[in-house]
Structure formats: C-alpha cells, structure tokens
C-alpha cells in the first residue's frame, strides 16, 4: 500500500547521457531489455518539435526484418555503450513508416540544411544528442570532416593519425538554433520564426543560398521571406531564377513584393515576364508606382533609360539652403539615392547639381543656385550600359542624371545599379559548374 503513495517522477528517469553522444554512435546498436535480451537494433529515431530544441519521441528498432517502435519513456539507460528499455519484447509496438513522422535518418541525416550564421548551405554528417530536462534533444549538427570519419568508423584512427603529426582534427558543429531546415518536411522543426532567423542574413547572401538549392527548394525557401527581404533578394538573383520564383508565386504576393521595390529594380524584374503578366501586376499596383515602372519599361533594359529610376530630389534654384533642408528632411525618406540634389526649373530642365556634402556644409541663407555645380556629366536614355559603366568609372561618380535632348531631367542612375554591369555578383553570374 505504501508503494501506491510514492510518486515516481518520470523526469528522474532514464536520461543520463554522459559526455557527448552522436547519432552515428547508436545507429545499428542493439537495445536490450532489463534482463539483457536483445530487443532489436536501432534503425531510426522519431523526433518532434520541442521548446527550444527538437526532442526524441520514439526509437525505431528492427528485429527479424520487422520494425518496432519504442517510446522514449520506456528507456531506462541511454549512453553510447548501452541502451536499455524498461519493457520486454512482447510489449513492443510494431511500426509502419509514415510521411507524417520526422525520422532522423530518413529526413535529416545526409540532407542539406541552412547555416544562418555562415549564410550557407551545409550537409548534415551527424547529429549530436544531449539530455535536457528529462528529454533527449537534438542539440547540434556535425557538418565537418570529423563527422564523416565517425560515420565511416575512422574517427579514432583519424584523430590518432593526425596527432602523430601534431595536427588537430577539429569539430565542426552547428547548434540547432542557428539552423534553418530547407526541405519543407522539416519546417516544423525550425526553432524560431524563419523571419527572425533570416533577419540576420544580407539579401545578397540569401540570393547566393537560393542559387545553390534545387529549383523547388529555392522557391520554397523564398516563400518564407518577408516582403522587404523578398524584394531585395529577388533583385539579387539571376534572371532565370527570378523568373522561376515569380512563376511559383501568386499575383498578390508578387504585387506585395514589387511594392517594396524602387521603380528601377521593379522594372528590371518585370522586364523578363510575359506581357500579360506585366499587365496583371501593373494593374494591381498604385497608380503612380505603375506609371513610374511603365515609363522605365519603355526603354531598353540595358540602356541608361532602363537602368534609371525616377525617384530623386529636385529643387528650384531660388530656394534657400535652409528651406531646402526642411524639405529634404521629409523627402529623403522616400528616395533611394540622396547623394546629390538636382536643381531644376519649372519646366524640369536640369540646371545644376549639389552634392550632399556641399549641401550640408553651406550657410543656411545661401540660394541653391549659388552653391550648385553646373558643369555636370549627364547621360541620355539611349546610352548603352557599357557607356554608362565607363562614364561612372572614369569620373568616379556615385550617381548620374539622365536627360533628354532638351535637357529635361528624366531620372538618375546610382552606382549600385551599374556596379552589377561592371562586375556581376556571384549569384547573378550563372554558376555554371562545368
């Protein structure tokens, strides 16, 4: 009777894992019952989402070519030498593989995964397990050579071999909380909301990662980005990949993303789409945004007209610096490039430019016309992108105005638009391997 009153807490149970324990060290090892009889060999582990790390729910074992499942609650000893269960063979439940279960060997081991901190795609060579609050959790992933050697059974020999040369065989582990699973099936295992994790990676790096993934994985990964990151990442991708991703998105999503872009970047993206698609997207945008983009689409994509944006700061010549400063503080939020202020008359003819430096260092009562430079270099909308690049390079400019024959200011090109022509970034260069 006394026994019924004693509460045996389960958390004090089976989980003493001593030292480090890797998945490869327990795979194919036998599980024994309390009497030492072998229940079966470990084939896989079912894992579920836990706070903060994925926890082991069941162990899958095989005996006589049949699969059985063992709930982790029924484990009494768990270390790299012995794994023992509390129950006997007749209490084992059979197991049928299902797509709904997350299996460590089938779904995680040897697959690719995203390392957020390193902003690159890595491969899981091994998984490290640890005890935590009475559970067994997946704490880290081994992506290094040591993991490969361990899987092959040569870890000790490799380590000793290198020790002979006074070299070290380093561990290369990544904590689970800085990993983002790529395959859709593993989504439920990701730690934080993808948005929080991905905030840390620069869009150019995200584009790099997407270009390394397979077509479906890349599109799926892109979908998890928020609109702002998606907009920046999309601009950094190679045109073909852009097209593939856009075709996998719904029109509303495309519109949301385009809205976050400046008109010249948006025009670049839309340029490669079918006329029908372009029409569809433009119809769903705000009037002024659609107009800006349409104007840019009218030009050849690799000409100055196609590269320019119509978002710039333009003030009248008789404004004082003080007045202009007030306007600047409001206008600058919406404009991408503020390196120069352009001075135009009421007909929008370009009269001069003021660099931001000169603007900030001038006396407040000066008129804009007094401090502006009038011998500026300009481009025409028909100028080829190679000429634009050469001009930027020759005069070391950060931005250049684009004017028509009469001198009307049509738009500006900033150096980040043309730098892709001078040296295309890795994600944009076709990563042809062979």
């Amino acid at each position: 009777m006394l026994q019924h009153k004693i509460n045996i807490k389960e958390t004090s149970g089976p989980m003493p894992i001593y030292g480090e324990l890797f998945l490869s060290e327990i795979l194919s090892k036998p599980i024994v019952d309390q009497e030492g009889d072998v229940l079966g060999k470990i084939k896989d582990i079912i894992v579920v989402k836990g706070e903060p790390l994925p926890i082991v729910k069941k162990i899958i074992l095989s005996k006589n070519n049949t699969l059985y499942q063992l709930d982790y609650k029924n484990i009494s000893i768990f270390n790299k030498r012995i794994i023992a269960a509390k129950i006997k063979a007749d209490k084992l439940q059979p197991y049928i593989a299902s797509d709904d279960d997350l299996l460590s060997v089938r779904d995680i081991l040897d697959k690719q995964i995203l390392d957020i901190n390193g902003a690159k795609v890595v491969r899981v060579n091994d998984i490290r397990l640890q005890a935590y609050l009475g559970y067994i959790v997946f704490i880290a992933v081994d992506i290094g050579v040591r993991g490969i050697l361990r899987r092959l059974g040569f870890e000790k020999k490799g380590h000793n071999f290198l020790k002979f040369f006074k070299l070290n065989l380093p561990y290369n582990l990544i904590r689970w909380d800085s990993l983002q699973p790529i395959s859709p099936r593993l989504k439920s295992l990701s730690l934080k909301m993808p948005k929080l994790l991905l905030e840390h990676i620069h869009p150019a790096d995200i584009a790099d990662i997407i270009s390394r993934l397979s077509r479906d994985e890349g599109a799926h990964f892109f979908k998890s980005l928020d609109n702002e990151s998606a907009a920046e990442t999309l601009s950094e991708l190679e045109p073909e990949t852009q097209g593939e991703i856009i075709s996998s998105l719904k029109t509303e999503r495309i519109v949301d993303i385009i809205e976050e872009m400046s008109p010249d970047d948006a025009a670049d993206i839309l340029n490669d789409l079918s006329r029908k698609k372009i029409r569809e997207i433009l119809d769903n945008l705000k009037r002024e945004d659609a107009d800006s983009i349409e104007k840019l689409l009218a030009h050849d994509s690799d000409s100055a007209g196609g590269l320019m944006t119509d978002e710039f700061l333009a003030y009248k010549p008789d404004l004082t610096v003080e007045e202009a400063m007030k306007r600047f503080k409001e206008d600058a939020h919406d404009v991408e490039t503020i390196h120069y202020i352009y001075i135009t008359d009421e007909l929008e003819i370009l009269l001069g430019i003021i660099s931001l430096r000169d603007f900030l260092l001038s006396l407040p009562q000066c008129k804009m016309s007094e401090i502006m430079a009038t011998n500026m270099k300009t481009l025409t909308p028909e100028d080829d992108e190679d000429i634009v690049a050469a001009t930027f390079s020759k005069y070391n400019l950060v931005a250049m105005p684009v004017v028509d024959k009469e001198g009307h200011l049509l738009g500006i090109i900033s150096v980040d638009d043309i730098i892709d022509v001078i040296l295309p970034p890795r994600a944009k260069r076709k990563i042809k391997k062979i």
Binding site: D110, N125, I148, S214, R215, K433
Partner: protein
C-alpha cells in the same frame, strides 16, 4: 553584340545531350576503338549495338532523374544511401577519373609526338596552362571552341567509306557476335562499353540537366537530343573500328604507337592523315583534361558537403582545389615518366571505367525506381530489364576476363598483353 559574344551564346544553346555526346569520344575512346579495329578487325563490332541501346537507356534515366528531382547524382546518392556508400563510390570515381585524365594527357603527349614536339616539354606546359585556366575560371570559352573542333571526327566516317571495306563482313560482325575467349579481346570489349558509357559522364550529364534548369516540359527535346547524340557518337566509334579494321588489321599494324593510328585516315586525308589525326586527338585530349578533373572535384565536394567553385581561393575551398590539382599533376607526372606505355594507359583507363560502371548503374537504377523520389516517373519494366542486362553482361565479361587472364598466366607465366 560583338561576334565573339554571339558565337559563345550560340554554342551555349547546344543542349547537354549533344555536348555529352561530343565529349564521349576522348583520347581513351579514340585509342580503344582504334586498337580494337587494328587487332581484331571487325570482330568486336557486335558490341556496338548493345552498347548504343544501353547508352541511350542510361542517359535517359539520368536525364529523367535530373529533371524530376532537380538535383545532381552525387547529391541523390548521398541523401539516399548515406555517407559510407557515397564515400567508397567517390573513392572509386576519383581513381577512375585519375585514370581518364592520365589517358587524356597520354593522348595529348602522343599527338604532340606525331607533330614532333617532345612530351617532356609539352605535357608539363599543358598541365600548368590547364591548371591556370581552371583556377582563374576562364576555361569556359576555351571549352566551347574545343567542343566545336570535335567535328573533325567526321573524318573517320569519310575515311572508312573511302577505304572500301567488305561491307558484308562489316554487317555480319555487327549483328553476329564472334566472341573470342582471349584476355585481350574480353578486356577490349569491356573497355568499349566503359569508354562509351563512362561513369563520370553520368554525373556530368545529370548536373548539366539540373543547371540548365530543364523542366518536365523539356522531356521530349532532351530525349531527342540523347537519341541523336548517342547515335552520332556511336557511329563515329563504329567507324573508327571499321577504318582501322580495314586499313591497319590487314597490314598487321597492332598499334603500339599513336602515329600508327593516323595512317588509318590516309584515304580521307592522304598526306595530312597523320596531322589531322594528331590535331583531333590533341583537341579531344585537352578538352577531357579540362573537364574531367573539374567535374570530379565538383561531385566529390557536392557529395561530401565541402565548399566548391572555381574562382574561390584555396582557403575558401581547399578540398575542391586539392582534388583537381592532384588529378591534373599526378596524371601529367605519370605520362612523362620515360617509357610509360601511352597506348596501354589509355586502354587501361577505359577498362577501369568499365569495371566501375556496374556500381554506378546499380545506384542509378535504385534511385530511379524510388517512388518517393520520382513520383510517377519511375522506370518502366523495359528500362529495368535493359539496365540490369547491361550490368549482368559487364559483370560476366569481367569474370570472363579474369578467368582467361588466370589461364593465360598459368600457361605462359606472364600477364603481358596489349603490347
């Protein structure tokens, strides 16, 4: 757009199927077929038809896998068969590709010997140039030019026709196998399959398909390309055998030197036979010497999860750089060793590929039959039958070869053959 840019774009339109076909006839290929024709006349021609069928079937499977999964072959093997299997396969692939690169440098050396340039000079120079081209990433354009030069092989077809062989004998041997139970014969038959369906080319082909971003809607064009490409490449191979069989075999020329092969082109090119042969061999060899080390580095790194990519510094991608550098330089060294038997090396490399092929095929067949991977695009019964038959035949030929090698050894106490 200037002309060079235009040419480059035009060449890039060539589909993976056609490009793979052109690369198929590399140094070891040309040599294997030439030796086959020179030593056994037309009697090895029967291997052509089964090999062609196998080639088309295997390439179609590979293309299908690439299109449906969007992943490379090494990637798939790693993800589905784990690191142990992948490691040993990559090890085998490394050595087979080392052999192929040795063959390519041999071909390069041999062709230069015909033109009178010493191999001690040209091989190290070539190796260094190729290494530089790869490290700087500027091999792309060179590759395209070399590919188009492959058209020179048509010379064999013309030569073969002009040599007026006994066509009834040719046809007879093509459709009726006259198998000789001799070590050399069996080895050459394995080599013929191994050089036509090279293991590394399957990885290359699948990666090109994936990179080109081909979709299911492209299935038909890809299949057509495979069919045409395979036919062209096998036709050239067949004609190399026929031409050498018609000209060298009756004359008893056994080909221990590459220049002897050039003679086979006399009907077509007359005085210039040797030169044209040397140029086309050099062309194929350089192309192979660029592609194979690079491809090996990419697949091994892809499978092992190491950083890869040309243009990355040594610190960024150490294993990648090591792999292609080792392959290039060890191959070059093996070729310049005085007295190294160039012809033997080239045929041995085809043989090595033939031995590795069954393993690669087994993985490919298992992958392509996985429903979870391929959905409704798994193999049909017919495909499985052809694939498994190819594997069985290869294994049987290998066993047969080992047996005959043993018997020859006990008889003559020497393993000396192919010289």
């Amino acid at each position: 757009m200037n002309t060079l840019k235009r040419i480059a774009i035009y060449l890039s339109l060539l589909g993976p199927g056609l490009i793979t076909a052109m690369i198929d006839n590399d140094a070891s290929g040309i040599t294997t077929f030439s030796v086959a024709g020179a030593r056994y006349g037309y009697s090895l021609l029967w291997t052509i038809i089964p090999t062609t069928i196998a080639l088309i079937v295997v390439q179609e499977m590979i293309a299908r896998m690439g299109i449906v999964t969007g992943k490379g072959l090494a990637d798939l093997i790693r993800e589905n068969y784990g690191v142990k299997n992948t490691f040993f396969l990559m090890l085998g692939l490394f050595f087979a590709n080392l052999g192929t690169t040795v063959a390519n440098f041999s071909g390069f050396a041999a062709s230069m010997e015909i033109l009178g340039v010493s191999k001690y000079l040209i091989v190290p120079t070539g190796a260094i140039l190729i290494w530089l081209l790869i490290s700087k990433g500027s091999y792309r354009f060179v590759e395209r030019v070399l590919l188009s030069a492959c058209i020179l092989f048509v010379g064999y077809i013309i030569s073969g026709i002009m040599a007026k062989p006994d066509w009834s004998e040719v046809v007879n041997n093509t459709f009726v196998p006259h198998i000789k139970f001799e070590t050399e014969y069996l080895m050459l038959s394995i080599a013929i399959v191994g050089t036509t369906i090279t293991p590394w080319m399957q990885f290359y082909f699948q990666s090109s398909i994936v990179e080109k971003g081909l979709k299911k809607s492209n299935f038909f064009i890809t299949k057509a390309e495979i069919f045409i490409g395979s036919l062209v490449t096998v036709l050239i191979s067949a004609f190399i055998i026929i031409t050498c069989g018609a000209i060298l075999y009756p004359a008893g020329i056994r080909i221990t030197d590459a220049s002897e092969v050039g003679i086979a082109l006399k009907p077509f090119a007359g005085e210039y036979a040797k030169i044209i042969f040397a140029v086309s061999l050099a062309n194929a060899s350089i192309l192979g010497a660029i592609i194979v080390p690079l491809a090996s580095a990419y697949y091994i790194c892809e499978a092992m999860g190491w950083e890869s990519g040309v243009g990355k510094s040594f610190n960024e991608a150490p294993q990648f750089t090591w792999i292609y550098s080792i392959i290039i330089f060890i191959s070059a060294v093996m070729v310049i060793i005085p007295g190294s038997p160039l012809i033997l090396l080239m045929v041995l490399s085809s043989f090595g590929n033939g031995i590795l092929l069954p393993f690669v095929l087994i993985y490919a067949i298992s992958l392509v039959n996985k429903k979870a991977l391929m959905g409704e695009y798994t193999n049909s019964r017919g495909y499985n039958i052809v694939s498994w038959t190819t594997i069985c035949v290869l294994v049987l030929l290998s066993i047969g070869m080992l047996v005959s090698m043993y018997m020859q050894y006990t008889k003559t106490n020497s393993l000396f053959f192919l010289s």
